[in-house]
């Protein structure tokens, strides 16, 4: 995608987009649960992460038949309710989760997707209904949002220990152009 942009503009793009993202970022705390939400709205696209407390993740999946061992490792992996929405982007918003980065002091890697988790759970022999619930409650590994309100909400695992801090770089393709949305200083629930 970067090849479609004139070479002389490439060095400038991260500064423009990153700066715009940082200015637009908000942080709110739910007074009842203490869960924190980080949100940014840039370029007609909204991205938000809301902490899912380990107890909430445990309860959700135990209730859907996931074995305790599987639930435990997932619940402690820094999970967020993630919303991505095409409010008024100039075209289709497309992403692949494998292109995103979780950047922390320990390094940079993509969020852990549903397929990776299900592979880790193989020894736990999940029932069909538990496997389906797990897969489809996760944020999609790839999606395209049309303008005018397409959106998804799903769970996203950053794959970090509780209380870690990181930046999320969400790499999107907006109307055929590469774009980065950044949420800075996001903290995992304890």
């Amino acid at each position: 995608m970067l090849r479609e942009i004139p070479w002389y503009l490439i060095p400038v793009i991260p500064f423009l987009l990153w700066g715009e993202s940082a200015l637009a970022q908000t942080r709110t705390v739910d007074p009842e649960t203490g869960s924190v939400t980080w949100e940014t709205q840039v370029h007609g696209v909204t991205l938000s992460l809301t902490q899912i407390l380990p107890d909430q993740a445990r309860a959700f999946y135990v209730n859907r038949g996931l074995p305790t061992t599987a639930t435990e490792s997932y619940a402690k992996s820094c999970v967020y309710m993630t919303v991505l929405r095409n409010d008024s982007a100039p075209g289709v918003v497309h992403f692949r989760l494998s292109d995103w980065s979780v950047v922390s002091t320990t390094g940079s890697q993509p969020p852990i997707g549903a397929a990776t988790w299900l592979k880790r759970f193989e020894a736990d022999e999940l029932s069909q209904s538990a496997r389906i619930a797990f897969r489809w409650a996760q944020f999609p590994p790839e999606q395209a949002y049309q303008p005018g309100g397409d959106w998804n909400q799903g769970m996203l695992s950053a794959g970090l220990p509780p209380d870690s801090e990181f930046d999320l770089i969400a790499r999107l393709d907006v109307a055929g152009e590469p774009f980065e949305g950044v949420l800075k200083n996001v903290r995992c629930a304890k």
Binding site: T46, N63, Q128, I132, W136, Q143, W151
Partner: protein, 180 residues
């Protein structure tokens, strides 16, 4: 009218409500836009068993506008939009618009008590895609996803994420398909 059958189900519902409440609190209002499918293709096959234990076949609904909604009880946007699907069905059902709600991966014991919590409770067919094979055939990537099948059996619109299906503009959009 559906009712919550037993105490265990009540606890499940209460727990579910607690789990989704913090997330629901900050959700944006549902929009009512449908995306036209620019190169209409035949809708994939859909033949599933309903909550009433009947086989429902999309192919037998030719001549109607069919709203095919993929959902699950644990999916917050699916829960939010369900009442609007019933309102749509009540307002446009006798004009040739029908709704098929395809539940993904759950069973009757889970879905039936949930429907009792929806106001108004759905009267359109609830279908069960227990192994998610239909979901895969329809190339759904996230829940909820909704397709509109025109009277000619071709895909006309789609919507990714929750919608307000009883919005007048959306209902007009669906009724116009009947005139084509």
């Amino acid at each position: 009218m559906f009712v919550v059958q037993n105490r265990r189900c009540q606890w499940v519902l209460l727990l579910t409500a607690w789990l989704v409440s913090p997330v629901l609190a900050d959700l944006p209002p549902l929009t009512h836009g449908l995306t036209p499918i620019t190169e209409p293709m035949d809708a994939p096959a859909l033949r599933l068993t309903s909550l009433d234990d009947e086989i429902v076949d999309l192919a037998s609904l030719r001549g109607q506008v069919v709203v095919v909604n993929f959902w699950a009880t644990w999916c917050p946007p699916c829960r939010r939009e369900m009442p609007s699907l019933e309102h749509l069905y009540q307002q446009a059902g006798d004009k040739g618009v029908t709704v098929l709600a395809v539940n993904v991966g759950e069973d009757e014991d889970t879905v039936f008590p949930f429907l009792g919590t929806v106001e108004p409770s759905p009267t359109f067919p609830i279908l069960f895609d227990t192994d998610s094979s239909v979901l895969t055939q329809w190339r759904v990537r996230g829940l909820p996803t909704t397709f509109v099948v025109g009277p000619n059996g071709k895909l006309a619109y789609q919507a990714v994420g929750g919608r307000e299906f009883n919005h007048p503009d959306l209902i007009d959009q669906l009724l116009q398909l009947l005139d084509k």
